[in-house]
Symmetry: C2
Subunit: 425 residues, 2 copies
């Protein structure tokens, strides 16, 4: 039955059925959560032997003999740089290995640009009346939050199946106050889309009016594949170098979803010119990051291959959750004409578009039935989804049976909200 083309009579019957199902669900007193892009306890257990990696001070030496228990080394241990370099396929000399949070590095990068400017800036970004950032949407709420918090104006750019709509991007960058763009280029949050080669090339070939424009390249899911047959992302540094705009890239990643969220290690990568500007300022901010945790990670994983082996174990835990989510969406919502969703081959999210104008209603219905969804609108600048249709599903955290239960509630609510709306029209 396609809800959009079926008779009103049929729809009323469906409505009665859905109400019954929904009432039954509500009576169960569920307490389920589909909102959090967190690894499950099962995944966290995969790395628990990291705790026994450093057990005496003698093990706390870097390869160059440096005692990692003491002060020193601003920009990360050489072996930690090498690990990220091998893993991400980018030059070690572009890399700073820092603390526990890549988000913190991104926030600090924007704050630093506001306070000092970046390479090529005429003045600190904070000295402009107003600067703007491009926000491909749906996107990651915490990206948008960083710039919003720091007083930067957010401009929504639509996402396509190949990344941000580059025609729109190319229009906006003619404005010299547009200083940057947020990108989650592989298995994007929340759609799980990987930017096409063409998108990456257009990002480095475009000519922003702002000479100090920066692409914030948050490669959060660089190695977070669910399948051997995984997405491939073009090397943006290599492309930027060819295009003569190497300084345009601020690159970020972390082991938050490799080892532990909040207790992993994060990195920023940028051109030598950028690093020459950033490091002295960073050296005023801190004497150095947690080198023991860097060393712990290097010793535990051993190599990029060691990380990739662990990522296969993560995939084994995550895959059934993604597949169950997609199966239920498919079984319950296919052909109704009221919803579409992405089928990511990696990352942490699935993006569900429900009937326009019903996402908030779905959220409320789910809430009342005991299922927490990501706040509707969170995936758009200022928390406002103009079409009120996008819902970010995070299948990673719940146990499989809880996930399936939550998904059954969700699809019921998606249908109920759509029928309500169609009947009211």
């Amino acid at each position: 039955m396609n809800y959009l083309t079926t008779s009103r009579e049929e729809l009323l019957r469906e409505y009665e059925e859905l109400k019954k199902t929904y009432a039954a669900v509500c009576a169960e007193g569920l307490k389920l959560d589909l909102s959090r892009g967190k690894p499950s306890a099962e995944q966290l257990d995969l790395c628990e032997d990291i705790f026994s990696t450093l057990t005496t001070g003698a093990e706390a030496r870097a390869e160059n003999g440096f005692d990692c228990r003491n002060y020193g080394v601003l920009d990360g241990l050489p072996e930690a740089k090498k690990l990220f370099s091998d893993l991400m396929g980018i030059p070690a000399e572009y890399i700073i290995v820092a603390g526990n949070s890549s988000l913190n590095l991104m926030y600090d990068a924007v704050a630093r640009a506001l306070l000092y400017g970046v390479v090529g800036s005429e003045k600190p970004w904070g000295k402009y009346e107003k600067i703007k950032f491009l926000c491909p949407s749906p996107g990651y709420d915490r990206h948008f939050g960083v710039t919003q918090s720091l007083g930067v104006e957010l401009i929504t750019v639509p996402m396509t199946s190949t990344g941000p709509d580059m025609d729109v991007v190319e229009q906006y960058i003619a404005d010299p106050t547009v200083k940057g763009i947020w990108c989650c280029p592989k298995y994007s949050n929340p759609e799980g889309i990987t930017y096409s080669d063409d998108t990456v090339r257009r990002l480095v070939k475009m000519q922003p009016a702002a000479a100090d424009f920066r692409i914030f390249w948050d490669n959060a899911y660089a190695v977070h594949d669910l399948y051997d047959d995984h997405d491939e992302l073009l090397d943006i540094f290599a492309e930027a170098e060819k295009a003569g705009c190497l300084d345009r890239i601020f690159y970020f990643a972390s082991t938050s979803k490799i080892s532990f969220p909040g207790s992993g290690i994060a990195m920023m990568a940028a051109s030598p010119a950028n690093l020459a500007q950033i490091k002295p300022i960073m050296g005023m901010q801190t004497i150095g990051f947690d080198k023991l945790n860097q060393l712990r990670h290097v010793k535990y994983f051993g190599s990029a291959e060691g990380v990739m082996k662990k990522m296969k174990e993560h995939a084994t835990v995550l895959r059934p959750r993604f597949e169950a989510t997609l199966r239920i969406l498919d079984e319950e919502l296919s052909g109704l004409g009221i919803a579409s969703w992405t089928k990511p081959r990696g990352g942490y999210f699935i993006s569900l578009d429900v009937m326009d104008g019903t996402a908030k209603r779905v959220y409320t219905l789910c809430k009342e039935a005991g299922v927490t969804l990501t706040t509707v609108g969170a995936t758009f600048p200022y928390g406002i989804d103009p079409s009120d249709r996008n819902i970010r599903l995070a299948p990673s955290f719940p146990a499989l049976d809880a996930l399936e239960q939550a998904m059954r509630v969700l699809v019921c609510c998606v249908k109920l909200a759509a029928v309500e709306k169609l009947l009211a029209e």
Copy 2:
């Protein structure tokens, strides 16, 4: 012999003797370092069993059951707050337990004030043409560096034996663009002076023209006593509350010199009103700090008493180094009329004032003899010691015999530089 009152003849003889001693020292090809306020390897070994504190995931739960391996908890584990609260004698509800660096928290606090303002600000500090910070000097170069890097003008305030010269402070704060003061109130860097009760009370009772004035209270050496008979610092929060200016205090500390520099845990403490402004911004900057390291510290030390026990072990390692340094200063420089120094009962430094106008010369003479001192001037704003006389001695890092050797070189250079100057007059 007092160099200032002795005959020129006598001085010339002394000069010849000193030149011989110095030449002999230079011939030894030493390579010694008195510049670094770092714990020695012996001290780092004291905490090496912390590495085996968390060895399975089951141990990674906070007292409230929270899985510290996952995302969440912005402002620190409750038990980590309690540890700092007990240790510092300040309310747990004022405390944020953060990452590995209190300097980073201080930098971020100034940056945040520039970008957002603080409680009571009319506008962000960055919106002023110019703001200023008071810098009690000699002081900690990295404090001054934070504000200098962020474009804040530095004003030198003389240190006295009871803390900053409060008469001078009270004059400067009549200027509404004076927004803050850097304080290292216990065993100050570099003098090892602890602020008197009167100084603490005047700091909270003074009436700055800037309603949003902040005291940056870096209690870096709060529990870093060398002797049982140790200095006592008045509780600034209690005094500020009595004086009705609780919001004036930004308080910082860390375990950098308790467990490991760079791999410890740091804290900021402030009034509930300040925290209500800070935490939402911090929540944009990061999802959370390294809770596993917080938990590791809590489990390892067990309690404030556990920390104090470890501090006694640190003192056992540090005390002979301080005493050797002071003994050599006393033996070699007493009564010459050319030098004075502090005798701290804790902290990491001894402050040596040589004859005016000779500190740089002493630095160079030492350098050429293979002994590295802290850069002369570093203890003053903009790296300029107006009297060219202050030298920060850091006795903690070298082995005892190397320290004594370095001190013998230093005192020779102090004398030589003084005699050179006196003979040239």
